[in-house]
Amino acid sequence: MIGIRRKSRFDRGFDIINTFLLVLSLLVVLYPLYFILIASVSDATSIASGKVILLPQNVSFIGYQRILEDQRIWTGYGNSILYTVASTAIGVIATVMAGYSFSRKDLAGRKVLISLYIFTMYFSGGLIPTYLVVKQLGLIGSPWTVILLGSVSVYNIIIARSFFASSIPPELFEAASIDGCGNGRFFISIVVPLSKSIIAVLALYYAVAQWNGYFNALVYLNKQQHYPLQMVLREILIGSQSIQADVADVDAIQEMQRIAATVRYGVIVVASVPMLMLYPLVQKYFVKGVMIGSVKG
């Protein structure tokens, strides 16, 4: 009966408005991204004079060419990938373990422990004491610092906890333990296979944060060859602003300024593409994975 029921006029109106609004939000978000893309292959003068609106003008790949010729970008890319992969792997493993433990209601002292965790989200000792600790650990200048410092997020642990609390019913463990299955085996052979979606979500969270971060690298790294991409980008973007005049150097500076105006867009594209490509890969797990709060913590 319900299936063949005709839609009310109200609902039809609702659908039209809803579709319109969806298309509108799609465009509002899409256009700025699209603009960056077409600007990255247009020449700077056309952009400045407002001719680039819907299509690229005077297509030129000089911006990309300059970017690809810069050795620092490649080193930075390599480092960023390395840091992101390592940090994400460590982060996901540690977070899934902690999140699962916290989801178990029979874990005595769990409220105290989780409070200890949450406290750190809102209270910290500040940069200098942290720097001193890193120094005492002998990690200044080591890429491990950058990898480790981004590898645990309490926020992500809470998300993982909520996921497990809602998707692994306590009865499952009870049944398994009657069959003689201990915590360790239960985790490996039952929990982990059921958590693909949360693992995908966590990996994405950690990867994005690590990829876009530069502050830890700025503070703790010592060598150009260790810099991640974001730091190199800052150097290039900010560097092109702070060119100081040198004698006998003028035409070159002007040439560089013009290129810099185009490089700007290419750099945005180059820096953002890897993360944008990551999402579709994990998307199918995504909605399933983010279940935070759909149950009481």
Partner: protein
């Protein structure tokens, strides 16, 4: 830039690279065995390689037996890193870059007097060439803890002049202004009479930018007999005066607001970054009437540069015009420091001394190998040239990649550069003249470079943070929206809550000590 750099490298190999001869008065090697030091360096953004890859570094290591482990800090994070380094006590042997707070970190640094006096003939020569240098470096305990770095070129004593479009003036039948009203009228004419002849009102009568120290309109306050410097003070009759509280400052604000509100200054003055500012000047169509810059061709497309000339200064409505000169002595006085972590400070002092011992080695650091972008002339002088700069690169970039650029353990003062030993490129002659002409308007007395007392400097810097914070918005607001008598009175009151009296007194005590 990889291709460009490969090209440069190939060039560097093909040109007969002349490495410096041994300087006569320096004993080498400095240490009998290879010794390693750690140095934190303020890395130039334009440098495309690491410091250990630089020719000058390898050469100097071979000569001196001193090996350096470089800690390369990008310039955008330099201040943070240096402060953290001192705060945590995690010190390298030396720090080289755009300034270390020598006074408040005195306890972590090593006094250099003894070592310089004993074994640094070239530093001593610099001290006798620039008599005020030693005093300027010395702290309240009578010792000095740092050595200067950077280019200290006499043509830069006034860092910024006003450059005016002579061909526009000719076209509109205008003469050089002799007072601020005439100056204003010229700007109006530039705005209204389409001097670039494209039928559009795209002219910017006065092109300036808050994003750059050199292109800043702060200097215009000088027409009213006040100044607006980074310290917000000036000196007259040995008295330090806090300028933003002066009535003349109020007059200047009103005048600048008038210029701004009449559209005579680019309306994006406060918000655009340096790159956007440069893009304006570099537009295919010439749109700048008057520009504030170190030199006009920094911002104007090469083909328009001959249209411009410097605008001679004139006395303002209060009978006097001030144009601030760079603080003397020039250079970054706190650019090279040795920390208490260093086991053999004397070796590093001698290392610095060696790099500053003659032009060959100094320019190898500053500009890279000879004949790449610098060369000797037959008359014994040297010059910079661009013949070898490949397309897509620039000599700035080559300088900072093949050499180090000026943020390095070198102090290029008139012994090494300037009109006596260096042939300026033709395009620079205008700058040299303008510098001379503007220098006449520099106030007779000024705060000099140098260091004060620990507590005084700390307190002064502390006060300056809030003062700066307030003044930046106040000034911007006054210039954009105008300022009434009432607002000015309120401003004076606010200043007293910001403790400007105490602040000024601290500068007075500094001035008295360094007079």
């Amino acid at each position: 830039m990889k291709k460009a750099m490969t090209l440069v490298l190939a060039l560097a190999l093909s040109i007969s690279l002349v490495l410096p001869a041994l300087a006569a008065d320096v004993e080498l090697p400095i240490t009998p065995e290879m010794e390693t030091f750690t140095i934190m360096i303020d890395k130039e953004d334009m440098s495309q390689n690491g410091w250990s890859e630089k020719e000058c570094v390898a050469f100097t290591e071979k000569q001196t037996n001193i090996h350096i482990e470089w800690i390369e800090v990008p310039h955008s994070g330099w201040k943070e890193r240096v402060n953290l380094t001192f705060a945590s006590g995690d010190l390298p042997d030396a720090i080289i870059g755009s300034g270390v707070d020598v006074v408040s970190n005195m306890d972590s640094l090593i006094a250099l007097n003894e070592y310089v006096d004993r074994s640094a003939p070239n530093i001593l020569q610099m001290f006798s060439d620039i008599p005020e240098m030693r005093g300027a470096l010395t702290l309240s305990d009578g010792q000095f803890y740092s050595l200067p770095i950077g280019d200290a070129d006499t043509k830069n004593e006034v860092n910024t002049e006003m450059w005016i479009n002579q061909s526009w003036m000719d076209k509109l039948g205008l003469n050089m202004p002799t007072n601020i009203d005439e100056f204003h009228d010229i700007l109006v004419a530039f705005r209204d009479q389409d001097p670039n002849g494209n039928g559009l009102k795209d002219e910017i009568p006065l092109l300036a930018s808050a994003s750059s120290g050199a292109a800043n309109i702060d200097r215009l306050f000088g027409f009213f007999g006040t100044l607006d410097t980074d310290e917000h003070v000036r000196v007259e009759n040995d008295q330090v005066i806090f300028t933003p509280a002066e009535n003349t400052y109020f007059q200047a604000l009103q005048w600048i607001h008038q210029l701004y509100s009449e559209g005579l200054i680019n309306q994006e003055y406060f918000t655009e970054d340096y790159q956007q500012f440069l893009a304006k000047g570099n537009a295919e169509t010439c749109i700048a009437g008057v520009a504030l810059e170190w030199y006009i061709d920094n911002i104007i497309l090469g083909s328009y540069v001959p249209d411009y000339t410097y605008m001679p200064l004139f006395d303002g409505p209060n009978g006097v015009t001030y144009w601030a000169r760079e603080k003397m002595p020039q250079g970054t006085l706190n650019g090279f420091v040795i920390t208490s972590a260093c086991k053999n400070p004397e070796a590093l002092v001698r290392w610095y001394d060696y790099i500053n011992s003659d032009l060959d080695i100094l320019n190898l650091w500053n500009y890279g190998p000879e004949n790449l972008i610098w060369r000797y002339l037959d008359d014994g002088r040297w010059e910079l040239f661009t013949d070898n700069v490949p397309e897509g690169s620039s000599s700035s970039q080559i300088r900072r990649t093949m050499g180090t650029g000026p943020r390095a353990p070198l102090y290029a003062y008139f012994r090494f550069r300037g009109p006596d030993v260096e042939k300026y490129a033709d395009r620079i002659t205008g700058k040299v003249e303008a510098n001379q002409s503007y220098l006449k308007f520099a106030p007779a007395q000024a705060i000099t470079s140098g260091f004060g007392l620990v507590d005084e400097e700390a307190e002064r810097n502390m006060l300056l943070v809030d003062i700066d914070n307030y003044l930046t918005q106040f000034k911007a607001n006054a210039i954009v929206n105008g300022i009434t008598e009432e607002a000015w009175q309120k401003h004076i009151q606010t200043l007293s809550t910001l403790q400007i009296d105490e602040y000024t007194a601290l500068w007075q005590s500094f001035y008295d000590a360094h007079k």
